[in-house]
């Protein structure tokens, strides 16, 4: 038993943290919030040079072949920002989906560009019905002259406005999991992407209007898309959870500092037990999310059955981030809702990731199924 990070993980953490402190202080994160695209060219290029975009990819596809736990160390640091950008969408979920679904030729064609950052992937799963299960995938391509034609809408697609390539889950049969994955050029005629307005972070609408997709765009085999996507999600979700843990950690540190320095009634507000209760609630959520996430990562990296743990981690982390931000707002009061202070970026992200890739209730039900109750 050893619940500490390895030496190389500690090094990665130090590198990532100093990068974040240097390149993305609060004002930068806040400044990016209103951009239509989450991708900031300069940051993206630097991250690519550090090898962060191919961190989950094997060396043969241009990646660094690190473990999921290693990637989680990095994403925990990115989550502290919370750093915007298609890091997870492309470098983790997109990369793992191509890795799981694609033929070897497709992997060799697509993945090296993901690692260098020239290709920016995102995976389009849910639709206006907002289900994250296979039943929610109703967008059905029409076959024409050996190619596909897409008409319809994918919704809540992360970072689609900065993607060069879309992986689109489509319905190709009547069976519950008759789903296939199409690799679609985001610039193809008839594809339009739009960041959804409101209290959510770079969740996009992707519309398809008579989009012609060549037959060679089918990733792997038809009808095997859901199985491949499920495998990719099982490995990707804990890394998203690590990003959430980083967010919780940053909000916790912000809150502790505020209770130590904000003086009211002549004393730092941390002396008040009512205020302390918010911080206790915060740290309990943070640690719940952290250890649920790390146990899931450990199971995946060591080849143990991990499905139930992954569902649990997402349920716990999603709930944690949401309520961590709520508690932080109770601690910070007026200061907390000031955009430039940086807490609202977390709050908005916590709401976004609450639902993204499945909300807590959905994951708890899948967890119960996986445990065969």
């Amino acid at each position: 038993m050893d619940l500490s990070l390895t030496e190389s993980q500690e090094m990665l953490r130090t590198t990532a943290r100093s990068f974040m402190q240097r390149e993305t202080p609060v004002d930068v994160v806040v400044g990016l919030q209103k951009a239509e695209s989450s991708l900031e060219r300069d940051l993206w290029a630097k991250a690519a040079r550090l090898g962060w975009l191919g961190i989950v990819l094997p060396a043969e596809y241009g990646g660094s072949g690190d473990s999921l736990s290693d990637a989680a160390v990095l994403y925990e640091e990115l989550g502290r920002g919370p750093l915007p950008g298609p890091f997870f969408s492309s470098g983790v979920l997109g990369a793992l989906t191509v890795l799981e679904a694609g033929t070897d030729e497709q992997r060799r064609r697509i993945l090296p560009g993901v690692a260098t950052g020239e290709t920016v992937l995102t995976v389009a799963i849910t639709e206006p019905n907002t289900s994250w299960g296979p039943g929610g995938i109703t967008l059905a391509p029409q076959g024409r002259n050996g190619s596909f034609v897409l008409n319809g809408t994918k919704l809540f697609v992360s970072d689609a406005t900065s993607a060069t390539d879309l992986i689109v889950a489509v319905r190709t049969g009547d069976g519950p999991t008759d789903v296939s994955l199409l690799h679609v050029d985001a610039k193809a005629r008839g594809v339009s992407t739009r960041r959804l307005p409101g209290f959510l972070s770079w969740q996009c609408e992707v519309s398809f209007d008579n989009v012609q997709v060549p037959a060679t765009s089918l990733l792997g085999e038809a009808q095997r898309g859901w199985a491949a996507l499920s495998r990719a999600l099982e490995r990707a979700i804990p890394i998203l959870c690590a990003y959430i843990v980083g967010g919780c950690q940053a909000v916790y540190e912000k809150s502790v500092l505020y209770t130590q320095t904000r003086v009211q009634f002549g004393v730092p507000i941390g002396r008040f037990q009512r205020v302390q209760d918010h911080v206790v609630r915060l740290v309990n959520h943070l640690d719940s999310a952290r250890w649920a996430t790390w146990e899931a990562l450990w199971k995946l990296d060591t080849g143990r059955p991990a499905t139930a743990s992954v569902h649990m981690a997402k349920a716990v982390a999603s709930e944690a981030y949401l309520d961590v931000c709520n508690a932080a707002h109770e601690v910070h009061a007026g200061m907390g809702v000031l955009i430039e202070y940086g807490l609202p970026a977390h709050t908005q992200m916590s709401r976004t990731l609450f639902h993204y890739l499945g909300d807590p209730r959905w994951h708890k039900r899948r967890m119960a199924d996986a445990l065969e109750w």
Binding site: D277, E295, M367
Partner: protein, 414 residues
Amino acid sequence: MDFEVTYTEEQQRFRREVRAWLEANVAPSMLRTPTSAEDNYRRYLELRDLGRKLGAKGWLYPTAPAKYGGGGLDVDHAIILEEEVDRFDLSLPPYYDSGGRLGSASILVWGTEEQRQAFLPPIYCGEVRTWQLLTEPGAGSDLAGVRMTTAVRDGDGYVIRGQKIFVGSDNGTDRIWMIVNTDPKGKRHENLSWFMIDASLPGITMQPMELMGTGGEGGTDSGVKQTVFFDDVRVPAFALVGGENKGWTVATTHLELEHGGGGRIGRNRVWDRLLRYCQETKRDGVPLSQQQDVRDSLADIYIKTEVQRLFGLRNFYLTYARKPKSYEGPQLSYYRKTTGLWMTGAILEAVGPAALTTDPAWGAPSGFLETQQRNGIVSVHPGGTTDIQRVQMARRIGIGRSTREKAGTVHGAE
């Protein structure tokens, strides 16, 4: 990270040895729910007998130093023992021995060599059972406010006078590990002392308290408590541990362990049995576990027990790998207590009124859910209330006071 102990061939052999030994020495009757007060006492004697047998093998206190009669085993072997004993729904020790666990740890850190040699072997070998006596009518959460029970120096010993409440379990005790006031005019935190004394000394009387909880010898928790009166009890000076008026320093070790700082690796017994019950019990012809609302409740309950397990595992690791801790001990305690309390409602909602009755025909088997309904509430207070745990956490996080408080010393104690 590695969440599991990797067992060597030698350790796997040890596990087989332990399992075979337990199967030969733990009679199924030891796990029964007692049917009467007499039966409760008989069961207690059987568990004490098992404790002595475990003690003879060094398995009662596996990581305690061998030179004082402990097992002298490393953490990995201790985990194996805990896991195997846990399979029988027992703990180490297999009876309520709070003063043994916490008193021996404090004596290891703060006692003299002579005291270690005198006090520790009987605890580690299972010869004696020890209760801790902390709370008084006027000093509960505010332990530093102990003043009703005093020890006054008198010749070569001390005379103890006063009253302690919420003590121990059922069936009496051999030894007493207690904190008393040794300087009524002294400053707070500089007026307390700890004694390890014989429970049969003249002047000590006990009277059971009638409480809402059930279960006399639960291992770590007990639903039955006593009031203990001290009427000019003469004790030798040798019984004073850690120095006169140094009791608050000793208490930091005691409280750190009591507040969850040592961690835990066992499974959640309520959960296993709750799931089985829900799978085997039908409502409207459908097993409870297949009904969506019950399933949702079960998922919430399961996740809480899992997070509690992870916190226990983390504290266990931090303790035995000798890593620095701050708020983690009281956090585990807080989480365990609030989860138990919350679960009373969640289980009642999932299972319905069968959770409330011990009736053999209509209640959940052997009344285990009824026990949870009571003890989930009772457990809020022992070893520090949920609010005290939060106060501790805040101080250690560094917001409750101007200087950040350190965790208590437990190293040397494991």
